[in-house]
């Protein structure tokens, strides 16, 4: 075993159990890789002391035969998750050096099961973005190098303004980059409109946004409460299944979490999909969809058909309204959720001549431009006289979108196959500068799933002409993540794994 960071999560787990490796050496290997990869800016805080202490504890437990399901597995944690005694900022200046005295439910379940924390991962500020460029800590660089760039050019860009290097997607860009660059075995992420699936698609990794209510939101910095959901990003379908089992579960502290037994998701990996009905929604064949994405989609269809699934055309007629409705609902909730960052109790405070002045100065300095934009949009759509025209109508559209899916599932469809993103990863500084909607269009295939509260999984299915990963998305019935894992494994087996050229950044 030369490089422990090359193991998958499942392989590492088995090696730890057979005592062919130790949790401490596994943690050390990852900490060393992180140190080498600081130029990617995937981690905003490394926690080596904590990692080594947790790993030592895991080694004890492994020795005593008391290993938890994730014993000794080193993970990266998105900075949206509150971690007790460890700085948590949502990558916003407004939280400053905020260090929570509490641990999010999801991460506490990971630690309960033996996982080891390597550090906190970069993300778009308050998870608002699709490229990880809105982070107060600066952009994350994808471990996928732009095609045909020389090492010199790469080095110069890494040291310079990073322009033209590829984005890892967002908002969970730190998570996807760290997983793709082997800086952890898996990472937590969150998804409000595509923030798990789009970065997974951009980096050739696997990400699942489970059904709304599957994971507790307690202790995760809120963006849009009715859409936010935690989920994992890892390098294989099996690895995400293993992680999700530990992350999921009912939590009395989150009344929107659902009291339902958590299945053994890993057992679903490798299960036959013979006879399953897979829906292909015609509305996802949007104008301007590139030929290579279309080709990839068709390939996916063929793989599933070869595995014995029945392919049916389905219609989700309200799909085209999903993105505009999402950009009303999500900012509306965000404008209210972010009101608590007022400089009064914690985080940044910029003094002012009176309380209103203090609020204005603090929030102007603390929030970045994308967050400010969404607060303004959200405030506007909830205002007297506009509420019915915007918020109420968006909620009606949301109901129609949910009904679209219900109708399809009611007709016997088990899951839906779509592209994950309309394009492969783009360059840092290339998108959305003049028109934010350009950036928002990244979520066109993913937001419907959040609007309907359904589970969605993205995984790599091929490479673009330029050699960059392209992803497919599977959308499931509520709480039927198991079928997604079974179907995804079929695609994974057919498509293979996609790995960036390693360590060009070190």
């Amino acid at each position: 075993m030369t490089d422990l960071t090359q193991l998958t999560l499942a392989e590492a787990r088995d090696a730890l159990r057979s005592k062919s490796i130790s949790a401490s050496e596994l943690a050390k290997a990852h900490l060393a890789a992180m140190e080498q990869a600081r130029s990617l800016n995937a981690y905003v805080l490394e926690t080596p002391d904590q990692a080594l202490a947790m790993a030592a504890q895991s080694d004890d437990k492994l020795a005593r035969g008391e290993a938890g399901p994730l014993e000794g597995i080193p993970l990266g944690i998105k900075d949206l998750y509150a971690t007790q005694g460890v700085r948590t900022t949502a990558c916003s200046n407004i939280l400053g050096d905020f260090t929570p005295p509490y641990e999010s439910t999801v991460t506490s379940q990971l630690w309960r099961d033996g996982a080891v924390m390597l550090g906190k991962l970069n993300n778009d500020e308050f998870a608002m973005g699709s490229s990880n460029e809105s982070s107060a800590f600066g952009p994350v660089v994808s471990p996928w190098a732009p095609p045909e760039w020389s090492q010199d050019k790469l080095d110069a860009a890494l040291k310079g303004d990073k322009k033209g290097l590829l984005v890892p997607g967002g908002s969970s860009g730190g998570s996807s980059a760290a997983v793709a660059a082997h800086l952890c075995l898996g990472a937590t992420a969150t998804d409000t409109g595509g923030s798990i699936r789009q970065p997974a698609a951009f980096t050739g990794t696997v990400g699942i946004k489970p059904t709304y209510g599957r994971c507790s939101r307690w202790g995760i910095v809120a963006f849009a409460s009715s859409l936010d959901q935690a989920g994992p990003i890892a390098r294989t379908v099996r690895d995400t299944a293993i992680m999700l089992r530990s992350m999921a579960g009912h939590d009395a502290k989150d009344t929107t979490s659902v009291d339902r037994a958590v299945p053994d998701y890993e057992a679903a990996v490798g299960r036959s999909i013979k006879g399953m009905k897979i829906g292909i929604p015609k509305e996802y064949r949007v104008d301007g969809l590139s030929a290579e994405i279309d080709q990839l989609w068709l390939k996916g269809v063929q793989w599933l058909r070869d595995a014995g699934a029945e392919i049916v055309d389905v219609s989700l007629p309200h799909t085209k309204y999903a993105l505009p409705a999402y950009y009303i609902v999500a900012p509306a909730e965000a404008s209210s959720n972010l009101a608590r960052y007022d400089g009064v109790r914690y985080g940044l405070r910029v003094p002012g001549k009176d309380i209103a002045d203090m609020y204005e100065k603090t929030r102007a300095a603390g929030f970045g431009s994308e967050v400010r934009r969404r607060i303004m949009i959200g405030t506007y759509v909830l205002s007297a006289g506009y509420y019915d025209a915007y918020y109420v109508r968006a909620q009606k559209i949301r109901t129609l979108i949910r009904q679209d899916f219900e109708n399809v599932y009611h007709a016997g469809v088990d899951a839906i196959l779509t592209p994950a993103t309309p394009s492969p990863a783009f360059g840092i500084g290339e998108m959305g500068a003049s028109d934010p909607v350009e950036m928002y269009l990244n979520d066109i295939f993913t937001v419907t799933v959040n609007m309907a509260g359904l589970p969605g999984l993205a995984l790599p299915a091929g490479l673009s002409a330029g050699g960059l990963p392209l992803g497919l998305q599977l959308i499931g019935r509520p709480f039927d993540e198991e079928s997604l894992f079974s179907i995804a494994e079929v695609i994974e087996k057919s498509a293979g794994h996609f790995k960036p050229q390693q360590a060009w950044w070190s």
Partner: protein, 490 residues
């Protein structure tokens, strides 16, 4: 409701009569151990910021979880107001910035409150009754408290109250005078205290009123209203209504118009003053709180709560009138507080209700009032007072002696029967002893006895002399009867 105008309630202006129209929003703190959406204590008087959970301080990622006890209390209150209970209601966010509002929004209920229309029957001093319509009752969070006097340049914030459950009870504009407004709040408070859903303690801020006041010529449409915020005593509610009504009348009579606005009542200066105009009103951007599912329960939940409700003041009053033969006024006084009514019933049990009521209301309440005490701190228990009533009823002591005995029991305590025996307070009913005293008095005053034969009014003087002779222990009725016989009256 109250469609006909009662001329007694009109206010005389320079140009004629005015009718004042009042509607109220009462904020009543729910009696519960913990807050509406967190486990923090609701105890009053803790050190600043000592009852604050992560949720109350709105730390990042914190989520509200509804306290079911507060839901039960709201439903119970709704039942006490004979109101429609909504099996499905929705919590909304009311968004505004203020340092004592950590979330930047208050969780409240806007479009779909837990309780709908109901009514309260209010007794007025003249014995008449009015029915006040209830528009709705909803649950919401209280804010914290800004402290501006702790530091020369800074304000402090105490979050102990932040997140405490309030019931906002909105009346219809059915009140027509300061007296009615006071009586309405008093009655509402009584009902909630009976139910145990709000302690009604206005000193601790458990009950606050926003008073909406407008004036109009009798029979005309409603005038423009002003809302007087946060009035925190029943007396001030009355003063605020009168002050504000007179202010509005003066403006209109001077040819001006009333601006819809929010005002504050200053009891020290006896005036209301503008807080913010309609134009300055916040746009609260209400929307359903996505952290909370709609609040749903079934009719069985309501029925169970209903079956366990205590007897409420109106029912108790009717029963006291029917079962004990009490006049409406006495029954009303007794039921104003549940502990008083319970005390009365303990005294009246197996005894004459009217006598018991007289002793409780006139002697006990009067004496307690003088000492600044109430029934709960009364030095005379219901058993002791009952024993005193027994001693009167069976003729052992006279009414006059009973008052002395009551004073002894009130100040010194003890068993009334024993006190009577030990101190020889027993009324003399032995006719032989009384007869001797009567004879002695008649013998000493032959002239007056002669006069009394033709002037029966003199009898009282003789009774007094005999009572003096017997040291007050003679039964006055026996004395009177004997005197009449001896003098030869009738």
């Amino acid at each position: 409701m109250n469609a006909t105008v009662d001329p007694k309630k009109l206010i005389k202006g320079a140009t004629g009569d005015w009718e004042v129209v009042i509607g109220m929003e009462i904020h009543a703190q729910v009696t519960s151990k913990s807050k509406l959406f967190s486990g923090a204590s609701t105890d009053f008087g803790g050190d600043q910021n000592s009852h604050v959970s992560l949720v109350d301080a709105a730390m990042p990622g914190m989520l509200p979880v509804i306290n079911e006890e507060c839901v039960r209390q709201a439903v119970r209150t709704g039942l006490g107001l004979e109101a429609e209970i909504h099996l499905r209601s929705v919590f909304d966010r009311k968004n505004y910035f203020y340092p004592d509002l950590p979330q930047g929004y208050q969780i409240s209920q806007y479009k779909y409150p837990i309780v709908g229309e109901g009514k309260v029957i209010v007794d007025l001093v003249d014995g008449s009754q009015i029915t006040v319509g209830i528009e709705r009752l909803h649950l919401e969070q209280d804010a914290g408290k800004s402290l501006h006097d702790q530091h020369p340049t800074m304000s402090y914030v105490d979050l102990n109250r932040s997140g405490v459950a309030l019931m906002e009870i909105v009346s219809k504009p059915d009140l027509r005078s300061a007296e009615e407004a006071r009586a309405y709040v008093t009655k509402l408070r009584t009902i909630m205290r009976y139910l145990g859903t709000c302690d009604g303690n206005m000193d601790e801020g458990s009950l606050r009123a926003d008073v909406n006041v407008s004036v109009r010529r009798p029979g005309e449409p409603l005038g423009t209203r002003c809302e007087i915020k946060n009035v925190n005593s029943i007396r001030f509610i009355g003063q605020a209504v009168d002050t504000e009504a007179r202010r509005q009348i003066a403006i209109i009579e001077d040819g001006g118009t009333i601006d819809q606005e929010t005002r504050l009542f200053d009891p020290a200066k006896g005036e209301t003053r503008s807080m913010r105009s309609k134009e300055e009103a916040h746009d609260y951007r209400y929307f359903p709180d996505p952290d909370l599912l709609p609040l749903e329960f079934d009719q069985a939940f309501v029925d169970t709560l209903k079956s366990h409700l205590p007897e409420l003041p109106d029912a108790k009053k009717a029963r006291f009138m029917a079962d004990y033969g009490l006049p409406a006024y006495d029954a009303g006084v007794l039921v104003a507080e549940r502990v008083q009514a319970d005390y009365f019933e303990a005294v009246a049990k197996g005894r004459d209700g009217k006598t018991a009521a007289n002793w409780v209301i006139n002697e006990l309440f009067g004496r307690l009032n003088k000492e600044g005490k109430d029934v709960t701190t009364s030095p005379v228990s219901a058993d002791q007072l009952g024993a005193i009533v027994d001693l009167i009823s069976n003729g052992t002591i006279s009414g006059k002696m009973a008052k002395d005995l009551f004073e002894i029991v009130f100040t010194e305590g003890g068993d009334p029967l024993q006190i009577v025996e030990q101190r020889g307070m027993k009324q003399v009913t032995d006719t032989g002893a009384i007869e001797a005293a009567v004879d002695a008095v008649l013998a000493a005053n032959p002239d007056k006895a002669e006069q009394a034969r033709t002037k029966p009014g003199m009898l009282g003087w003789f009774v007094g002399q005999v009572m003096k002779e017997t040291g007050g222990k003679a039964n006055p009725q026996s004395v009177s009867d004997l005197l009449k016989a001896k003098i030869g009256l009738e």
